[in-house]
Amino acid sequence: MDGIPISWFLTLSAILFALGVAGFLFRRNIITVFMSIELMLNAVNLSFITFSYKLQKVDGHLLAFFVMVVAAAEAAVGLAIILTVFKNRSTLNIDDIDTLKN
């Protein structure tokens, strides 16, 4: 086989994205949920890089780079938010954070 079909990368990306979504939906620990988001972002990055290869343009790398920066920023703020939540409620179970409803 001459090289790897592009679609394999993209499919991998889709699978990882889906797993990220699954993690968001099924995990109860807030931190794990948050990590699932990171997983989704990684999946997207893979798509960017793959498309970049296909198009033979570097732009995709830049996009992936910016995504990383954003992910980093989100991580910092997100974890800080998780800290305050934990401080207020002493729990990391996402199902317990449901006082605001209806």
């Binding site: 993690g23 931190i31 970049s52």
Partner: protein, 178 residues
Amino acid sequence: MDVILFLIFATIAVVCAINVVVQTHPISSALSLVGVMGSLAVLYLLLGAEFIAAAQVIVYAGAIMVLFIFVIMLLNAGAEVKKGQSTMALFLGVPLLAGLLIVMCWYLQSWFPIGTTVHFGGFQSTAPHTGPLAQSGGSAHEVGIALFTRYLLPFEVTSVLILIAILGAIVLARKEID
């Protein structure tokens, strides 16, 4: 060769990703996530994205995940306790997710049938050679040039983003750090 490499690391990535989802202890999830990121870095290299691969390892697997693990440790988060709430997520989520996945895969497969295939070193810089080695299209050089020309504005603006992140973290977590 490329195919085998891809298959190995793709498998690792998927298995680790599944592990992220199924592990109940956040530390295990975090470590699995590091695994995903690592194997992705390899795939990036395969795609000629040298700079991003490096950044992936340093920034993502390194910095960000360390931050995660710090917080997990700080909060002394244990294995999650299963409470039978929100079964809806499960009942609706699984089929939906399967649906999403199938749709995506179907379209991706059908839209990129054979076309270009990926092989290592298949993405070369079009810029004139300036060094001894043939430059990859995703080298730090190429990325750097793009970053400071075409993507100057986003690049500058991300600094604001970082600033906000710092500010936000300070605002929210100050008491704990005091």
